[in-house]
C-alpha cells in the first residue's frame, strides 16, 4: 500500500502504542475517571476517543462517558468555502457542567477546529476543565491553542498533508504524510 508520495509516520503497532500512552496520560491529567468525559471531533476523533475510552475501561474497569461533536455549524468560514454537504452527528453524554472534558481529535493544525469545538461545548454546559488530546500535532497554529496530550509531533513541509486512517472507517490503522497533488 506504500506509494512513493506517501511516508508512513505511524504504522498500526506504533499507533496502538501511542494510544495506550495517551490513555494513561488522560487518566493522570484527569486524576482518574470520576469526572472524565471524552468528546471526539467528527469524524476520526470520534473513533480515537472510543479507542482511548476502551483502553481506560480495560485498565480501570470503569465505563468512561464519551460523545461526538460535529463543529461544522460553528465554523468561521461558511461565507468563504460554502456549506459542507453532510454534517455528522453531535452526541453529548449527559450534563457537562462540572466535568473534565477531554477533546480528542486526529490532527491539530491551525487550531480553528478546536476554537469552534470550545464554542460549541460552551453551549452544552460549563465544564470545570477542558483539555485537548490529539494523535498528531503538525504545527502551523493560527490561534493561541495548545494541546495537553500529543501522540506524535510531526514536522510538515509546505505541500504536505497528514493523513490519519483508522480501522473502523478506512480498513486499517496508519498515519501517513502525503504529498499534496499526488493521489490521496
Amino acid at each position: 500500500m506504500s506509494r512513493p508520495d506517501r511516508t508512513i509516520i505511524l504504522d498500526a503497532r506504533a499507533l496502538a502504542r501511542a494510544l495506550q500512552r495517551m490513555a494513561v496520560e488522560v487518566l493522570e491529567l484527569a486524576h482518574g475517571t470520576d469526572d472524565l468525559v471524552l468528546i471526539g471531533i467528527q469524524r476520526r476523533g470520534v473513533e480515537l476517543a472510543e479507542r482511548i475510552a476502551k483502553l481506560i475501561e480495560q485498565d480501570e474497569g470503569v465505563v468512561v462517558p464519551r460523545g461526538a461533536l460535529d463543529i461544522t455549524l460553528y465554523r468561521d468560514d461558511l461565507e468563504t468555502v460554502g456549506p459542507k454537504p453532510v454534517i455528522g452527528e453531535t452526541r453529548i453524554p449527559g450534563e457537562l457542567t462540572g466535568k473534565h472534558v477531554v477533546i480528542v481529535d486526529d490532527v491539530l493544525y491551525t487550531g480553528r477546529t478546536v476554537r469552534a469545538a470550545l464554542d460549541e461545548l460552551a453551549d452544552f454546559g460549563r465544564p470545570k476543565r477542558i483539555s485537548l488530546c490529539v494523535l498528531v500535532d503538525r504545527g502551523g497554529r493560527e490561534l493561541p491553542i495548545h494541546p495537553d496530550i500529543v501522540g506524535k509531533q510531526v514536522k510538515v513541509n509546505g505541500g504536505e498533508r497528514v493523513d490519519v486512517l483508522v480501522e473502523e472507517l478506512d480498513g486499517r490503522d496508519e498515519v501517513g504524510l502525503v504529498r499534496q497533488g499526488g493521489p490521496a
Binding site: 460535529d70 455549524l73 468561521d76 468555502v81 460554502g82 454537504p85 452527528e89 490532527v107 491551525t110 452544552f124
Partner: protein
C-alpha cells in the same frame, strides 16, 4: 470552492435533482438534534439578514421559517402585506429592491401568484426561498413531508403515497408529487373529479375515484386541506357531502388490516377532510411533520447560504480549517 449545492434560490422541487433533494433531507437530520439542545442555537448564519415577505396569511410556515432562521443565528425581519407599502401600490420588485438596498442576504416569500418566487429570484441578488406561490409549489412543505415519510418507513423508494382532496388548487400536492416521483415513490391522487387536474396520469400518477380504493392501495395518505371557498365556487356540492364521500374516517381505515401513515399539511378542517379520531390517532404523524418542518428549513437556509466565490481564494491562502 465547490459550486453552491442548490444554486441561488429554492423555487420548487420540480427544479431539483433527486441527489439535491436527498442532500437536503440528509442535512436536515443533524438539525433535528439542534432543536433538542439546551441552547437551541448554532452560529452558522451569524450576521446574515433574512426578510420573511408574506403576502398571504400564514401561521405555521412563517413561524417555522422564523424558528429555523433564529436557531441558525440569522437576523430576521417579518414583512406582512397588510400594513406595508404593498397596500400603497408598490410592486413586488420595488419592495424587494428597497429591502435589498438595506443589504439583506435572503428573502423568504409567500405570495398568492404562481411564479412570484421565481420572478423575484431572477431580479434580485439575494437568495430567494419559495414559501408557497399561488397554485405552483410549496417546496419546503414537500421536503418536510418527504422527511416524515422517510423517518416513518425508513425509505421513500417504493412507498405508495396517496394525496387526498383538492389536488387541483394545491401547491403542497404539486411539490409532493415532484419530490415523491423523483425519489422513486408511487404516487396516487384521490378526490372529486372537479378537484383533480386533468392529465395528471401522464406524470405517472394513478387516479382513484373512491377513497376506499385509495386506502386499500396506499401506505401513506397525505390528506389535503379543503378550502371552504371551493364550495361557493361550485367544485363540490357541500362540505357534508364531501365528508361522506371522501372524508378519511376511522371506519374507513379500520377496514384495512395494515397500519397506514396519516399526514396533513394543516391547517386541518376536522370533520371535513379528516376525522378527529384519525388526526389524533396512533398512525397520525401530523405533529412530526411540524417538527420536521423546522429542521428541513434550517437545512435549506444553511445550504443556500455562504459560498461567495470572491472570498474563496482568501480563505484558501489562510489555510482555513483542517
Amino acid at each position: 470552492m465547490t459550486a453552491p449545492p442548490l444554486g441561488k434560490d429554492l423555487v420548487g422541487l420540480e427544479d431539483l435533482s433527486a441527489d439535491q433533494i436527498r442532500l437536503i433531507l440528509d442535512t436536515a437530520e443533524p438539525f433535528k438534534e439542534v432543536s433538542e439542545r439546551p441552547i437551541k442555537k448554532v452560529p452558522a448564519l451569524r450576521g446574515k439578514t433574512i426578510v420573511n415577505l408574506f403576502f398571504e396569511a400564514s401561521t405555521r410556515t412563517r413561524i417555522s421559517f422564523e424558528f429555523a432562521e433564529k436557531r441558525l443565528s440569522a437576523d430576521t425581519v417579518n414583512v406582512a402585506a397588510s400594513g406595508s407599502s404593498v397596500q400603497k401600490g408598490e410592486t413586488l420588485v420595488d419592495t424587494a429592491r428597497n429591502l435589498e438596498a438595506m443589504r439583506i442576504d435572503m428573502v423568504v416569500i409567500r405570495h398568492p401568484s404562481s411564479g412570484a418566487a421565481e420572478f423575484l429570484g431572477n431580479r434580485i441578488r439575494s437568495n430567494v426561498i419559495n414559501a408557497g406561490d399561488g397554485k405552483h409549489e410549496h417546496p419546503t412543505q414537500g421536503l418536510l413531508d418527504l422527511l416524515t415519510i422517510r423517518d416513518k418507513h425508513g425509505k421513500i423508494d417504493g412507498i405508495k403515497v396517496c394525496l387526498v382532496g383538492d389536488v387541483l388548487h394545491s401547491r403542497v400536492a404539486r411539490s409532493n408529487i415532484w419530490g415523491l416521483l423523483k425519489l422513486g415513490a408511487e404516487v396516487g391522487v384521490c378526490g372529486p373529479d372537479t378537484l383533480l387536474p386533468r392529465g395528471i396520469e401522464e406524470l405517472g400518477v394513478c387516479r382513484f375515484r373512491r377513497i376506499e380504493e385509495a386506502i386499500e392501495w396506499a401506505d401513506v395518505l397525505n390528506v389535503l386541506r379543503l378550502q371552504l371557498e371551493r364550495m361557493e365556487m361550485g367544485f363540490i356540492p357541500s362540505v357534508r357531502e364531501y365528508y361522506r364521500v371522501f372524508g378519511v374516517t376511522a371506519e374507513r381505515l379500520e377496514k384495512v388490516a395494515r397500519p397506514m401513515t396519516i399526514m396533513h399539511p394543516g391547517p386541518m378542517n376536522r370533520g371535513v377532510e379528516i376525522d378527529s379520531r384519525v388526526a389524533d390517532g396512533p398512525h397520525s404523524v401530523i405533529l412530526d411533520q411540524v417538527t420536521n418542518g423546522v429542521a428541513v428549513r434550517m437545512a435549506v437556509l444553511y445550504l443556500l447560504a455562504g459560498g461567495r466565490p470572491e472570498l474563496a481564494d482568501a480563505a484558501k491562502r489562510s489555510g482555513g480549517l483542517e
